[in-house]
């Protein structure tokens, strides 16, 4: 049985309060508390993680694999491998919430490896959050590796809005012929938090493409580092965009790196860091909002 803290955290990251319809695994404080597959999606627990196998041609399945930590001092590394069959089209809701009630560090390092067969399509949603009254740090270090077969498509929506003291998020992709990887990241840090994002994408196949978009807000004394490294090794399109709002005494570093190893590789990197435009605040104040309300609306919209 989950307690209320755990249920609320589960709901926040995955939008569920109990076992969902479809295949799922709910990991709580280091172990599975519920797991189930179906005729299209099998979930096989193994030491330190699980294998998720999706049959070729599967359409419309939603797989939930959230992780909740509600105890202090729990540090884990979990390896999950996803095998997505040919022409399957599925959504995976992952995410991790740490509610740390004590003074010891709690940490979840999830290593997710995706293997997409020809024509497979995946939407991968990952929401990270932290809470709890203790002084113990809440640390999340997700690694996502995407091995994308011909004509496959993967969209990754990642979000970390509050409560995570330290994170290093690494996403790597090897993109095959005609395949597309889209990554949308939303990030907000506050206090003395640290967030590092690393994208490494190899566009190896002809007509492959990658689009990496990051929007972040850094408040307080927090620090963010954004590194995007795209290599075009064939006729391909690569685009990465880092857009950050900096506030207070925060620090944001954006490091773009694009390398073309083929004459038909078209690569673009855009990066912008700046404070909230004063005229945006003025406009919303002329609509009757206070300065604080205006700021909140601008940030909410930016990270929507």
């Amino acid at each position: 049985m989950m307690n209320k803290v755990q249920q609320d955290m589960l709901y926040e990251i995955a939008g569920i309060r109990a076992a969902p319809a479809g295949a799922y695994n709910i990991r709580m404080n280091g172990g599975s508390i519920g797991c189930g597959g179906n005729e299209n999606v099998s979930i096989n627990l193994k030491a330190g993680g699980m294998d998720i196998v999706v049959k070729p041609g599967t359409k419309g399945e939603v797989v939930h694999i959230p992780v909740v930590i509600s105890s202090t001092g729990l540090v884990e590394t979990v390896y999950n491998d996803f095998y997505i069959g040919e022409d399957a089209d599925i959504t995976i809701i992952a995410g991790c919430g740490i509610h740390n009630p004590g003074d010891a560090q709690s940490q979840h390092d999830g290593v997710h490896s995706f293997h997409l067969e020809r024509g497979a399509r995946v939407r991968y949603v990952e929401k990270h959050t932290g809470a709890g009254d203790g002084n113990g740090k809440r640390v999340l270090n997700p690694v996502t590796v995407c091995d994308m077969g011909p004509g496959s498509y993967m969209e990754m929506d990642t979000e970390q809005i509050r409560g995570v003291d330290s994170t290093k998020r690494v996403t790597k992709g090897v993109i095959g012929q005609g395949a597309t990887l889209v990554v949308k990241e939303k990030l907000m840090t506050h206090g003395v938090q640290y967030a590092e994002t690393v994208f490494e994408v190899d566009l190896d196949g002809a007509d492959s493409s990658a689009n990496v978009m990051s929007r972040s807000v850094a408040k307080g004394d927090s620090r963010q580092v954004f590194l995007s490294r795209i290599s075009g090794n064939a006729k391909c399109m690569g685009h990465s965009e880092c857009d950050a709002i900096i506030m207070d005494n925060a620090s944001v570093q954006a490091i773009p790196e694009i390398t073309a190893n083929h004459v038909d590789a078209a690569l673009i990197h855009e990066a912008a860091i700046g404070k909230i435009a004063g005229e945006q605040i003025v406009k919303l104040r002329t609509l009757g909002l206070s300065e604080e309300e205006a700021e909140a609306q601008i940030i909410n919209g930016f990270l929507k």
Partner: protein, 274 residues
């Protein structure tokens, strides 16, 4: 020596050394709603003080439809910002219904019933048209409600409602959304700073229709900063501002022929006095 130009009808000047006071007679409803008293706005450039708005006094009555015009650099947009609280006057007072609002900030003035449309609409990454209209209305809006305000400015609402208020919209579209946001506020006083600036001719014709429609339907006072004859034609009252001073004021019939006339008019428009 200041003389009253014969052709400009019911304008009166009160010359007191360097000062000119211009005012309309109190309107039918009695006391003017918005009153500017000896408003000045100075800026300091290279250690020298320069007057942008010079001791302006102006009464704006309830439900009036006023256009403020005049040459570039004459202080029109600054005056609009002073009314909205975006700039603070370096001298004088602003009264709303007899209450001194000079010390009120932008938010307080908005809450007191003053709306303001930017000359250059502000762009927002992430905020949608519906978000902006909803914030302007200050209440939860159904898509239908929000669409109503967009159709007021001639936009096919369903195409715009979920779009972000960013660079993907054209200048004319942004302008009309800006105007819709001010209409949605339903403020007692709405100030539009050069609504025609930066839009193409096709959008301009639509814009004129928006203001003609507003003139017929609005329950509040409208103040438009404009150079455009077609917008001037919608005014009940026209104020001419040049060199930081009011150089003329009166009804549309009184002022407009002079603005569109010959050499003497040009001097008048520029604020030159004989």
């Amino acid at each position: 020596m200041l003389t009253r130009p014969a052709d400009y009808g019911n304008i009166y000047y009160e010359n007191s050394e360097d000062k000119i006071r211009c005012g309309a007679a109190p309107d039918r409803e009695g006391n003017p709603m918005l009153k500017l008293e000896n408003i000045s706005f100075d800026v300091t450039e290279d250690a020298a003080t320069k007057g942008i708005v010079k001791d302006i006094s102006l009464d704006i009555g309830d439900k009036s439809f006023m256009v403020i015009t005049g040459p570039n650099g004459g202080g029109k947009s600054t005056l609009a910002k002073l009314i909205a609280g975006i700039e603070k006057p370096t001298g004088g007072r602003i009264l709303l219904d007899g209450v001194d609002i000079t010390g009120m900030d932008i938010t307080q003035r908005a809450k007191a019933g003053i709306g303001y449309a930017f000359q250059q609409p502000v762009r927002f990454k992430g905020l949608t048209v519906k978000d902006l209209i909803t914030l302007a209305a200050g209440r939860a809006l159904s898509t239908e409600d929000a669409c109503h305000y967009l159709s007021e400015v001639g936009l096919c609402a369903i195409e715009y409602i979920d779009r972000e208020v960013n660079g993907s919209l054209s200048g004319g579209e942004l302008k009309r959304i800006e105007i819709a946001s001010v209409i949605a506020r339903g403020a007692r006083i709405s100030v539009f700073d050069e609504p025609e600036a930066g839009i193409d001719l096709w959008s301009f014709h639509n814009l004129i229709r928006v203001f003609e429609h507003m003139r017929k339907t609005t329950a509040g006072t409208v103040i438009i900063i404009s150079h455009q004859e077609r917008i001037l034609e919608t005014a009940d009252k026209i104020v001419v501002l040049a060199g930081g001073r009011i150089t003329g004021m009166g009804s549309r019939e009184e002022i407009l022929p002079g603005l569109l006339g010959g050499a003497d008019t040009c001097r008048f428009y520029k604020g030159e006095r004989t």
